[in-house]
């Protein structure tokens, strides 16, 4: 009996040790960015110093440098603008399409949903070269518009599929009774279904925004002008002067930019996963 209990205890301790190791593995690069961001250079670049400790008082100099001596602030604003534009385009294309797939096209709607989802699996690295020519032809190179036009190729397939799945989960009866009461189809959509679909639409908004903020390949291909870059390209490409890496400002801006995006994405990951695992499956 005692041995069974102590075995159980070993199992519990082992379990939390294991989880702890994985947490350190997952979060360490971010913790490291955070520590580096506030260290003075003389502390940072001394190989004798214990890198886990502050030997000199923490400093805000790197953050200040990032905002005043580099275009970091500009890149943050650009990322926000691109995200906003992509959200608008995605909503305009996704909401009608998802409604059509969920309610109007019957059996074909399900098949079309899967076909549209497959488009999400087409990676930027397959298309970035012809896409850069398309962008040049449209005279959008080195503008934020190039990204607002192209990013929905990533967000629309994913969000249409997600939202169609979400709408299918809402009861049809409410719209049908609204239509019996004299609402038109579109009236029932606007007045009855959309208010119920707000959680699904919020998911679409967050996904569109975070996927745009994360994107690197298209942004690196279309935009070479420093002032027009987004954070995900500006920080790795333009904070390095020649071969000199300014690790302090680099880590400060990488940390500052990635944590909010991560927190936003974290809010919707659950829905993304559950959509293609259990209840929602591929329907």
């Amino acid at each position: 009996m005692v041995s069974a209990r102590s075995r159980r205890r070993v199992l519990v301790v082992g379990r939390f040790l294991l989880i702890g190791v994985f947490v350190v593995f997952a979060a360490f690069p971010f913790a490291w960015m955070g520590i580096t961001a506030f260290k003075q250079n003389s502390d940072l670049y001394n190989p004798e110093h214990n890198p886990f400790w502050f030997h000199e008082p923490p400093t805000l100099a790197h953050l200040q440098y990032a905002f005043t001596k580099t275009q970091f602030g500009r890149w943050v604003v650009n990322t926000g603008l691109v995200g906003l534009g992509v959200v608008v385009v995605t909503l305009l294309l996704t909401v009608p399409a998802a409604y059509s797939l969920a309610r109007l096209l019957g059996r074909w709607g399900e098949r079309a949903s899967i076909a549209i989802f497959l488009v999400y699996l087409v990676p930027p690295t397959l298309l970035f070269i012809p896409m850069s020519l398309v962008v040049t032809t449209l005279r959008l190179q080195n503008t934020l518009w190039s990204l607002i036009v192209v990013y929905p190729t990533i967000t629309v397939p994913l969000c249409t599929w997600l939202l169609a799945g979400f709408l299918r989960g809402l009861p049809r009866e409410l719209e049908e009774s609204a239509m019996v009461d004299g609402c038109t189809r579109l009236g029932a959509l606007a007045r009855v279904l959309l208010p119920l679909a707000v959680p699904g639409i919020v998911t679409v908004v967050i996904f569109s925004f975070t996927l745009s903020a994360q994107e690197f390949v298209y942004a690196a291909s279309f935009v070479t002008a420093t002032a027009q870059k987004t954070v995900s390209v500006g920080v790795p490409a333009d904070m390095v002067r020649g071969d000199i890496f300014d690790w302090g400002p680099l880590m400060a801006s990488a940390f500052l930019a990635s944590v909010p995006v991560a927190a936003l994405y974290y809010l919707v990951i659950e829905r993304f996963v559950s959509s293609f695992t259990l209840s929602g499956a591929f329907r």
Binding site: F30, M33, T36, I116, P123, A257, F282
Partner: protein, 310 residues
């Protein structure tokens, strides 16, 4: 008056016509489909066209030269290395992810206090922008100030003042790229597996316990068969993401040292975008396509299976 009346009638008839599902359905779907055809379908065909020409940035439409670009690629040792790397990185990373994610999901399957916070930290590698988090790794693996080197020196595994040069040696750089891919895809696979765990009926596990099964037996004979379809989905997505990724290699090693960690996607970027050789770049990217097609077939099969329930 009569005109107005017939106009109203025509309008309401056309509204009724628009209201019909068979009209409204396609009409609402059309903008999204049109957008996808124009900005995914067309560029894809354009990529195929470019790969068969000698187009460069200076001459973006080029001249038709048949399959010469592909022939050139298959004679280029750097490209062959990139092709091999793409497969080796993907397979190695996904095998590691599959094992680690199964262990981690098993540890996390039962709720405990602070699980929400733990999940946030575990998910960070997947939810943060990869180009930024890879810079964190770049600093961790720095030639002179690597924190790993410092720890190794403290443990006397590395002589004083010595460095590993993680990204300067082909073998270590190779390992570093795989490690970052594992780090990035592990959260995703874990969360998918956790969702699979939550769908396992508790009765099954209780019954196995009554029958005297230990943890390994419960895992092997009850959980694993029920998790297999979900694990397949995680594997499929992980494979696609790792196989087509260029960001990790681009930020971490730029394909170096000496092109030993180059992958197809990064090589296409260096040749096509940086070097301006559009046709060669396009042909290298297109080498990703057969595997993607295969993956799509598997996704469709997984989707069909869901119709009868997993």
């Amino acid at each position: 008056m009569a005109v107005a009346q017939s106009l109203v009638a025509a309008l309401s008839r056309s509204r009724m016509w628009l209201e019909r599902d068979r009209v409204l359905g396609p009409a609402l779907l059309a903008p999204a489909v049109l957008y996808i055809v124009l900005l995914v379908g067309f560029p894809f065909l354009f990529a195929v066209y470019l790969s068969l020409t000698d187009a460069t940035t200076g001459n973006p439409f080029g001249r038709f030269i048949g399959l010469s670009n592909f022939a050139l690629t298959f004679r280029d040792p750097v490209a062959l290395r990139a092709l091999r790397n793409t497969f080796v990185f993907t397979v190695t990373a996904q095998l590691a992810v599959l094992v680690l994610a199964n262990v981690l999901a098993l540890a996390l399957r039962r709720p405990f206090r602070a699980r929400g916070a733990v999940m946030f930290f575990l998910l960070l590698p997947w939810v943060a922008p990869v180009s930024l988090s890879t810079i964190g790794w770049l600093w961790i693996l720095h030639a002179r100030f690597s924190v790993i080197d410092w720890v190794l020196r403290q443990l006397a595994l590395l002589p004083a003042g010595a460095n590993m040069f993680w990204l300067g040696r082909p073998d270590l750089a190779f390992g570093a790229v795989v490690a970052v891919h594992v780090w990035r895809m592990l959260p995703f696979a874990t969360v998918v597996l956790l969702a699979g765990h939550s769908a396992i009926p508790q009765d099954f596990l209780d019954q196995a316990e009554v029958d005297g099964a230990n943890l390994w037996q419960k895992y092997r004979h009850v959980m694993l068969p029920l998790l297999a379809p979900v694990a397949a989905v995680a594997l499929l997505f992980g494979t696609i993401f790792t196989f087509t990724d260029m960001t990790v290699v681009y930020v971490l090693t730029r394909g170096g040292p000496f092109d030993t960690t180059q992958v197809l996607a990064s090589l296409a970027f260096f040749k096509g975008i940086v070097g301006g050789n559009l046709s060669v770049g396009a042909s290298i990217s297109l080498l990703l396509f057969p595997v993607l097609l295969l993956a799509a077939v598997f996704v469709l099969r997984a989707a069909r299976r869901t119709e009868v329930g997993w």
